[in-house]
Symmetry: C2
Subunit: 209 residues, 2 copies
């Protein structure tokens, strides 16, 4: 296997933490998103969406999309399980990961990409230009803050996002929160349950990945 | 189990087709989205996101998020498999399903919800009001049409979206395309490979669900 990464981007970091939790070591190729390497023919033949992360399998096939890459790794390296141990736990982990992608990561990406001066006409990742929509940046921050409030209430009742065990949902949430600072959407100190969870989870060795 | 549905909405239809493909019959409860039943206290205690579909498990727990619900059903009723048979196939199905959610369904939802007269200040599902952003409706249609062109090129090379076998990715795509008519983003006749696939897949008995 080979992993196409960008050390500064949030999406591939989710996979790097997942790999570190499972102690999987594979060759890593850095893709220089700042210089536009993802739009060149070489990388476009690896992933036509021009995004990282990408996992290259030993037969040469390429997988993109964070959750799909992690699912492959989970099936090939099941220990420790990070995506659930039975049907109900697996679906609960997937549900929380999905809520986090749609209600936290995506709004934060809206907030970041529709504001950043360097991303004029690049409001979405991928090969096509889309102009920034300032209203979408504002809406993104508002939605993310609203969802963080809901997570705070949820984390008053559970240790980890999907229940009793650390999972991919916690990884997604830590990466989102660390990205929030770049999205002008900082997390309030008043969210005490959320901050308890963040302190606990972000202290894991894997989070340095 | 019990299934919270809305017969006219695209997201629960994805699960209804999935259930039909597996010949699973469970009690169905209709939630009246048009009258705002999803915002009432009764449904809010079932899903605080105020969205359908929701699957109620026999122990009383509730699962939301289409992919998570389908994953639970796949693990409990594995035949016929609709989410892959080995690690690489499973991850490939998940990857295509994810691309379809982010690059087709979400843009179509943007196109629909930011234009519909009945959805003023309801540009997103869920309990909080968000005003419509006309630029986002336009961008949604443009993105969906661009992605359909890519799917056409992909379907020139494969029978089904994730390869040789019908999967949840095909279900997501059929539901998206049928929803496109409501999003003022009709699919062009010129996409011959895409239309070949659509004719083939939409003729399945399950698609009436």
């Amino acid at each position: 296997m080979k992993f196409y990464d960008c050390a500064t981007a949030p999406s591939p970091r989710r996979v790097r933490i997942f790999l570190a939790e499972k102690s999987i070591e594979i060759p890593i190729v850095q893709v220089n998103l700042a210089s536009g390497e993802q739009f060149g023919d070489a990388f476009r033949s690896i992933n036509p969406d021009c995004t990282v992360p990408v996992l290259e399998l030993d037969d040469g096939r390429h997988l993109s999309e964070v959750f799909a890459i992690c699912q492959y790794l989970e099936l090939v390296y099941p220990d420790p399980p990070l995506m659930g141990r039975d049907a109900a736990e697996t679906a609960t982990v997937t549900m929380w990961n999905s809520k986090l992608e749609w209600q936290l990561l995506a709004p934060l990406a809206d907030a970041f990409r529709n504001r950043a001066r360097g991303l004029k006409d690049r409001a979405l990742p991928g090969p096509e230009p889309y102009e920034q929509i300032p209203q979408l940046a504002e809406r993104g921050s508002k939605r993310a803050l609203s969802f963080l409030g809901k997570l705070d209430a949820h984390l008053a009742k559970v240790e980890y996002l999907a229940g009793k065990r650390f999972s991919i949902a916690d990884i997604t949430a830590v990466v989102a929160v660390d990205f929030a600072a770049w999205s002008k959407t900082p997390v309030s100190d008043e969210l005490i349950h959320f901050n308890r969870w963040y302190q606990q989870v972000s202290a894991r060795k894997s989070m340095g990945a």
